[in-house]
Amino acid sequence: MTNEWPLWEIFIRSKQGLDHKHAGSLHAADAQMAIENARDVYTRRQEGISIWVVESKHIHASSPDEAESLYDPANDKVYRHPTFYNLPIELKHI
């Protein structure tokens, strides 16, 4: 039986109109404490922000499958462009 406080993932919306963004994680004994800790650690007490906390164990994530990834050494390695657009060569430097 471990006494370690559970790990929580923290999501912060720093301004109205923006999405919540993953800020990192921290340990807290319960959700209320997690929110307060997030305020202290990840927002340095900025006003008017929104904090979501989720216990890390409740996050479900997709698995990158290397065999099916867009990685293809023969072609133009699409995954290197974060927007995943196929840019013609001459536009690469824009």
């Binding site: 471990t2 006494n3 370690e4 406080w5 790990l7 990192g24 994680s25 921290l26 340990h27 004994a29 319960d30 404490m33 650690v41 994530a61 698995s63 990158p64 290397e66 990834s69 990685y71 050494p73 390695k77 995954y79 290197r80």
Partner: protein
């Protein structure tokens, strides 16, 4: 058909972040866990030498900014522990490694802070050296580590400026203050230079770390850059760097500097520095004396859950 390792290395070569669920070589994972957790430990242990002067800070402004700085270091430790936890190690495991001596932390924090001027010297030199290391790590290959470093670097800039300002004011003050300033520089210079670790020839893991972009520059490269910058900055203070061999080399476009006392370095790394025992003892004490608090918080959270169920 490319192997996982080829894909991994190709990503690294092209500055594509490796994220927690991606395939990675075992050795890469182990190296990262060690490097990130030791970086985290350094931040936490680093709170102690400076924390030592919080109650004695000589003005309210200095009191507030010093607390803020030390608190930042706690925050940095936290970001780094978080990043390490994405690799499959828990905070408790890392803390146990620190307390048992299995994990190391930057040996610079095994030196004592004897005067208020030490706080200035730490900000200028120790944080200066840390920044030199940390900025390149903002582009390290492992995503969570890089993102943690970006946060750290954003917050770090005021630390160094604060330290330099403390020394600047001392350097323009009374004779006693100027003496305090030079004395602190005399004691913190060489340990700061040693922060960059052993020379490149004595760093066997260096090449692999550079290939994996867990490290972006060699120890000697960073050390040279640090010395070049400090040798200029100290002119503003009107103080001396305690190295008689320090001299601008026109051909190399760098400063030449004296021999590092590697015996002292290894001695301190291996646990015989002036404050090794005290630093670790303080951390162990805080952890042990806090156990009842952590337990109570868990117990209460359970009670509340059952109550609300």
């Amino acid at each position: 058909m490319e192997s996982s390792l080829d894909i991994f290395q190709d990503k690294v070569d092209n500055d594509i972040s490796i994220e927690p669920k991606d395939w990675m070589p075992d050795e890469y994972r182990k190296t990262l866990i060690r490097q990130i957790s030791q970086h985290a430990h350094s931040e936490i242990v680093g709170m102690l030498p400076e924390g030592n002067w919080i109650t004695r800070a000589p003005s309210l402004k200095r009191k507030a900014t010093l607390i803020a700085k030390v608190q930042d270091e706690a925050g940095h430790g936290l970001y780094l522990y978080s990043a390490a936890e994405t690799l499959g190690i828990s905070r408790d495991e890392m803390i146990a490694q620190l307390h048992s001596g299995k994990a190391k932390y930057s040996s610079i924090f095994n030196y004592p802070t004897l005067t208020w001027a030490d706080i200035g010297a730490i900000g200028w030199l120790v944080d200066g050296a840390a920044i030199m290391n940390q900025v390149p790590l903002c582009r390290t290959s492992y995503g969570p580590y890089a993102r943690a470093m970006i946060r750290v670097c954003k917050e770090e800039s005021f630390h160094q400026r604060q330290g330099f300002e403390i020394l600047l004011i001392l350097s323009r003050g009374s004779e006693e203050q100027r003496a305090l300033c030079q004395d602190a520089i005399n004691r913190w210079w060489w340990p700061s230079v040693m922060m960059f670790g052993p020379g490149d020839e004595a760093s066997p893991r260096s090449a692999q770390s550079i290939k994996w972009k867990v490290k972006r520059f060699t120890n000697d490269e960073l050390r040279q850059k640090f010395i070049d910058i400090c040798a200029e900055q100290i002119k503003t203070l009107g103080m001396q760097i305690p190295d008689p061999a320090l001299k601008w080399n026109e051909e190399k476009n760098h400063y030449d500097f004296g021999e590092i006392n590697w015996e002292e370095f290894w001695n301190v790394v291996n646990g015989n520095g002036p404050c090794n025992k005290e630093r670790l003892a303080a951390r162990i004490k805080a952890h042990e004396e806090g156990a009842w608090v952590r337990e109570a918080a868990i117990a209460f959270a359970e009670k509340r859950k059952t109550h609300n169920a």
